[in-house]
Symmetry: C2
Subunit: 210 residues, 2 copies
């Protein structure tokens, strides 16, 4: 498999965590977002949406990291990234979607560029913007993790929630958000970060890192 | 089942379409977003995130519309909202996620309020903001629907893509986006809108509509 992504992209980071948990081998093909390589003809031929990541596999070219994680779990069931019971699956998906829909899309590179260039928002304003949506989502997740968390964000095994949450905390820290306000969430993230498949997925450990 | 939602909310609309396609009976409990009812103590007790929808069912209280749609499809398999093959499932999920992650979250009520109040963006600026992300997502979907669409957005049966796409077009029309730029997408949406389960889910047909 070939993962087209970018070391610092949260959605690429998510996908690397899931691939690593499944113990799958993959080659990384860097797409430098700072250089606009996601809009190059060669990348658009892979993913017309011009967003990372894209995963080349025997089922074709897969896009949208949350959809890729679902595919990985169906194709390579062990170790499972989702519980088996209906209520539990729904909860894990809802927690992952809180990051995937309600936090991450508001703070990614294209949005920050628009805020800066089109709306002339300064750095303090950008940090306030990002911090607002991160706090709203993390407040909700702190409560849910308090209810359903164990060693990790949902129970005692790594799930799709951890795949989404660990990169979101990495992003929050880059926006200088004080994450000590969410102690339960941070404990789960610390525990997840200590697991080798998660640690190996960290941006600093990628071939295209600065 | 009880669906807590709001007639004009795109995520409530999505969930109604899915429930209707499955032929399930449900009662609607309105949460008036204009009145801030999503932040009331009684609603926060149901969904601490303070976002609609929330579905009360025998598996508890489910949140996040895209996660609810997955739950519905697992719990009530017929008619299926996702194809059975791995590559096809991944594609349907990726198309749905393009709406759920890359378009809708950027244009919902809390974001528009922030743009107006905190960043002092005027109505023209708000329309330009919304139009930018709708166009980026619809450009990508127009290409994908050209490849995979049939009578509907993916093939010839209603799928999770239609559940997500029909409400997004409703929203685009409210932002005065000229949707004739995406003819293949609009044809699929027109066909879906003509189906009774989809038509019944339209905001104007809900008990709490203006």
């Amino acid at each position: 498999m070939v993962l087209h992504g970018y070391w610092r992209s949260g959605t690429s980071y998510r996908t690397r965590i899931a691939l690593n948990i499944k113990g799958l081998a993959y080659r990384q093909e860097p797409v430098d977002l700072r250089e606009g390589e996601q809009k190059s003809a060669s990348y658009l031929a892979l993913n017309p949406q011009g967003l990372v990541p894209a995963l080349e596999c025997d089922d074709g070219i897969l896009t949208q990291s949350s959809a890729i994680i679902e595919w990985l779990d169906e194709r390579y069931p062990e170790p499972a990234l989702f519980p088996t019971g209906g209520a539990e699956r729904a909860k894990v998906r809802a927690m992952a979607m809180t990051v995937a829909c309600d936090i991450h899309p508001l703070n990614n590179l294209r949005i920050l560029k628009y805020l800066r260039r089109e709306l002339e928002v300064d750095q303090q304003g950008v940090d306030a913007w990002a911090g607002t949506w991160i706090a709203a989502g993390f407040d909700a997740l702190e409560a849910t993790i308090g209810q359903h968390g164990g060693r990790f964000a949902y129970g005692d095994t790594l799930t799709a929630v951890d795949c989404h949450l660990v990169p979101q905390v990495y992003s929050a820290e880059r926006f200088n958000v004080d994450c000590t306000r969410w102690p339960r969430l941070m404990q789960a993230v610390e525990n997840a970060r200590g697991e080798p498949p998660v640690a190996a997925a960290h941006p600093d450990n990628q071939p295209d890192a600065d």
